[in-house]
Symmetry: C2
């Protein structure tokens, strides 16, 4: 028999199960990614399986570098049965371009800095090609 009971867990359990922190989960709620969680009489947040799944989705999307705003859009499409995969792919490719640009910027920095470092003796003398390079 499948487990038909929709188990409810507190935020600490949800954090453990998703690998997020409780703080992140509250933050995502406040940021509007999740609907307001149901509460116990004492005010404790409770999460069901579906909500845990959404948290997992958010975690994966964050791991791919999507911003909270972008994830909000992704979740909207995720929940929308009338979505087209074209819309999703567009979002993904926009983000992909952002990533590629950041990589290019960092590689440019890396290249310049490596050049400077390579031309610095790294000895006891004060003369330093890195400082000279920064001074130009």
């Amino acid at each position: 028999m499948a487990n038909l009971v929709n188990t409810l867990v507190t935020i600490g359990q949800a954090a453990k199960q998703t690998g997020l922190s409780a703080k992140m989960i509250r933050y995502y709620e406040e940021a509007g990614l999740l609907l307001k969680a149901n509460r116990t009489d004492a005010g404790y947040r409770l999460y069901n399986n579906q909500q845990l799944q959404q948290l997992g989705f958010i975690k994966q999307a964050r791991a791919l570098g999507f911003s909270i705003v972008q994830i909000s859009s992704l979740l909207g499409l995720w929940r929308d049965p009338n979505r087209s995969s074209r819309e999703v792919k567009q979002l993904a490719e926009l983000h992909l371009d952002e990533i590629k640009q950041k990589v290019a910027e960092l590689q440019q920095m890396q290249s310049l800095l490596q050049q400077l470092a390579d031309s610095c003796c790294g000895d006891d003398q004060p003369q330093c090609a890195i400082l000279d390079g920064l001074q130009k």
Copy 2:
């Protein structure tokens, strides 16, 4: 004849000459990278050639991705006649490692996201490999 006059410029001129913004220059002063600038009687900041050179140094270092704290150390070494280029090179290589790690992280993201995007049809159908991939 060399120009022996130590020309003084206001923050707007300094910004124009260095390519920084006035806001950045004030921020660097407040962050302790620069000594407090001299002021006119009216309270306007004044910069001499040496200070403009320091601002240029900061700009170059920022362009290479050094943080304000790191630049503070670099400036300390720059001003220290007893420095060893070894110290400078150490700082540079630490930063280089940070950059390399960020590049690696971004490339990992890029690779995963590219895979997902490639496997998404991007058509009118709701079925979407990207969303499926995020759901796991």
